[in-house]
């Protein structure tokens, strides 16, 4: 039962298939159901908004962008399947998608095999740089490392590491541990809870007993709500012990309740309150499109700029072909809501400014410290001596 197809090297030229029509397909691949839908649905919204903006401005190379939306359903093999479908079946020019590192790792071989292009919009643990992925969220040196430095200087030396039990928190904590031991911090404890864990009374008790200066929080998803509510109930306020989170943004704060997390710190590249003209416009558009009760946050912004960056690269390349777009993207600059960003050609990550913020009573985040300029992405932490041996 073999057909007459000949085996040939994988080489599907995106765009060629659809060139007869005046649309170009792009894929959007997020979890629209399951546990991750909580976070990912807004990214899809932001990406659609950017696509709409581009289409309203006349499209790309004379074509309208047509999004093909797929549901990764919070399940990694499904992500892989849908990625295959987008690349092989729909022959999309590029894909915007994923949130968790697990889903990215699942689709990575698919993109490499089919020579596709993925724009990944979430901060992550680094140690990766696939030629088929552009990373528009923060690398560790643009979020975690500066946050730890700042905390050591301003809050104290004794760190309690708390994270969800999966690759991002575990790798992030590995980095932090190396950093702490190199620059004089002290690791008090390291705790992981399964994703979706809801009872933090025991952890809070452990924190209370350990009396750290800082809790560095890499919990993801629902667990943050339970953690912050229960922390507050145990009588621990931000004055007693500071919690610094790297996966809690404005969107999550709405679920946690501002009164429960007020005063605690976060580290990101962008906040809704970030003061740039581009951001004013972005926030306004987003709210008028999706409702005034919606908020913008870092991953939403990163997803939004991913679409624009791709569009810019396409324009520059004058083609939708992956190789040409990749080439054109190198060094590309863009005035993003977070400020000026630039694609680093070497590793396809973004130059981004780093901001540490404090959660306010209204659920928004006030910037309390920031780098003056965009920081060069360094996913393998090559520029840090203490990080030697982490990346192999």
């Amino acid at each position: 039962g073999c057909s007459g197809k000949v085996e040939e090297p994988v080489d599907n030229k995106p765009g060629t298939d659809t060139s007869a029509e005046d649309t170009i397909k792009v894929g959007i691949l997020h979890s629209l159901s399951g546990t991750m839908a909580i976070s990912e649905v807004s990214l899809k919204d932001a990406e659609l908004m950017a696509i709409e903006e581009i289409n309203q401005a006349g499209g790309l190379l004379g074509k309208k962008i047509e999004p093909v939306i797929e549901d990764g359903a919070s399940d990694w093999p499904t992500f892989a399947e849908k990625a295959k479908k987008l690349l092989q079946n729909d022959k999309v020019a590029t894909v915007f998608g994923c949130w968790t590192s697990a889903s990215r790792k699942a689709v990575l071989p698919v993109f490499e095999e089919n020579n596709g292009l993925l724009w990944y919009p979430v901060q992550y643990e680094g140690m990766e740089s696939s030629p088929n992925i552009f990373y528009t969220g923060a690398a560790p040196n643009q979020q975690i490392v500066p946050a730890v430095e700042w905390l050591l200087e301003n809050k104290g030396k004794r760190f309690f590491l708390l994270g969800s039990d999966y690759v991002f928190p575990r790798t992030a904590n590995k980095i932090i541990k190396a950093q702490l031991s190199a620059i004089g911090g002290e690791l008090i404890a390291e705790e992981y809870t399964p994703l979706g864990h809801t009872d933090y009374s025991t952890i809070v008790n452990k924190i209370k007993t350990a009396k750290p200066d800082v809790v560095f929080n890499t919990l993801n998803g629902d667990s943050n709500v339970a953690f912050f509510k229960q922390l507050k109930d145990a009588g621990i306020t931000s004055e007693d012990i500071t919690v610094c989170s790297v996966s809690v943004a404005e969107e999550e704060i709405r679920g946690i309740g501002a009164e429960n997390i007020k005063g605690h710190l976060v580290s990101w590249n962008y906040y809704q309150t970030t003061d740039t003209p581009e951001n004013k416009e972005f926030v306004e558009k987003y709210k008028s499109k999706y409702g005034s009760d919606r908020v913008t946050d870092d991953p939403i912004e990163a997803a939004y700029i991913a679409v624009h960056l791709w569009a810019e690269a396409v324009k520059k390349a004058g083609s939708f072909e992956v190789e040409k777009v990749k080439e054109a993207a190198k060094g590309l600059e863009f005035k993003a809501p977070e400020g000026l960003v630039k694609i680093e050609g070497e590793n396809q990550h973004l130059w981004k400014p780093v901001r540490i913020g404090e959660v306010q009573e209204d659920g928004l985040i006030k910037e309390i410290w920031s780098t003056s300029e965009a920081v060069r992405p360094d996913p393998y932490l090559k520029t840090y001596d203490w990080a030697k041996g982490l990346s192999d």
């Binding site: 629209l32 159901s33 399951g34 546990t35 839908a37 909580i38 976070s39 990912e40 649905v41 807004s42 039990d165 705790e191 992981y192 809870t193 399964p194 979706g196 864990h197 809801t198 009872d199 009374s201 025991t202 952890i203 008790n205 452990k206 209370k208 007993t209 629902d222 667990s223 943050n224 709500v225 339970a226 509510k229 229960q230 507050k232 109930d233 145990a234 009588g235 969107e251 999550e252 709405r254 679920g255 946690i256 309740g257 501002a258 009164e259």
Partner: protein
């Protein structure tokens, strides 16, 4: 030392949460033999009801009466979730009696639908329920152990619910009727009991209790469409460990799992704690296959 004392309290507290969440299941599953995989979604409905009550209070009564919303939310969660349960019973569940395994499949379907509905109505992200101010803070004992009011309140609520369920089931005519219907539907009917009414009321009550659990959970954790999925397995474990069909077993099961979990977690970590508790339950069932309180029976094939 303080830390150990607090941990004992935490164990009791976790048990009370589990008990509250499992109590409804002890009725719909324990008595009615419906493997109600949508039980978690009933909890979710209770939580969203609380959310809506809060919003209504804010929009219509303003901040001044805000703190009272929770008092209103408890009975309303019970009623609304109970009503949803009632609707499910008269439309779907009524066709599933005596088909325990099928009930699992159908209620799984119900749970998918309810989750998606919640996503469409309230959005995928979590919503925030602010606790009433009178539940903020806690009593301080032994110098510096703070027992949060919220947790004390939940323990109290669980105790009240269990007392209510006990009195209702074992001391009232309706309770006797319910138990009779659940054991032998056609005979109960032959004695003049309107089994349809009893069925739907029982299911509604079981669901309503889940609603109360959902209301209580807003004090502790996140309220989102998948809220229920976090509790469904634990609650089934509670009922099974205690002994299916025994209310007292549910109390014992909740206590064992809650205290076991916090203890193991304290000495290891959260993941291992969970693994150890479940392992312990599996091993325990090897020894006592019917759980703590079994329902013995002479019938050849139960």
């Amino acid at each position: 030392m303080d830390s150990y004392l607090l941990q004992i309290f935490n164990g009791i507290s976790v048990s009370s949460v589990l008990l509250l969440a499992a109590l409804g299941l002890a009725i719909t599953f324990g008595l009615m033999r419906i493997i109600n995989m949508a039980h978690g979604e009933m909890i979710m409905i209770g939580a969203y009801t609380t959310y809506m009550v809060q919003n209504l209070f804010i929009s219509f009564l303003g901040e001044r009466y805000f703190d009272l919303y929770f008092i209103a939310a408890i009975p309303l969660s019970f009623l609304i979730t109970g009503f949803v349960g009632y609707l499910l019973e008269i439309s779907i569940v009524k066709r599933l009696y005596g088909r325990t395994l099928d009930s699992l499949l159908a209620t799984w379907g119900i749970s998918l639908i309810l989750q998606q509905l919640a996503r469409n109505i309230f959005g995928a992200p979590n919503v925030d329920v602010r606790s009433p101010r009178w539940l903020n803070g806690g009593v301080v004992v032994f110098g510096n152990i703070q027992l949060p009011y919220k947790r004390l309140f939940i323990i109290l609520l669980a105790a009240l619910c269990i007392a209510g369920v006990y009195l209702f089931l074992f001391k009232s005519d309706s309770g006797r009727r319910i138990r009779a219907v659940m054991q032998n539907r056609s005979m109960a009917e032959s004695l003049g009991i309107n089994t349809r009414k009893v069925d739907s009321m029982t299911f509604a009550i079981g669901s309503g209790l889940a609603g109360i659990a959902g209301c209580a959970l807003t004090l502790l954790g996140s309220i989102g469409p998948t809220l229920g999925t976090n509790y469904i397995v634990d609650t089934f474990m509670v009922v099974v460990l205690g002994g299916v069909g025994r209310i007292i077993g549910t109390v014992a099961g909740a206590a064992a799992i809650g205290i076991g979990n916090t203890t193991f977690e304290y000495f290891t970590n959260a993941s291992l704690g969970k693994v150890l508790v479940f392992l312990a339950v599996i091993l325990f069932l090897q020894w006592k296959p019917q759980g703590f309180f079994s329902v013995s029976s002479r019938v050849l094939d139960e």
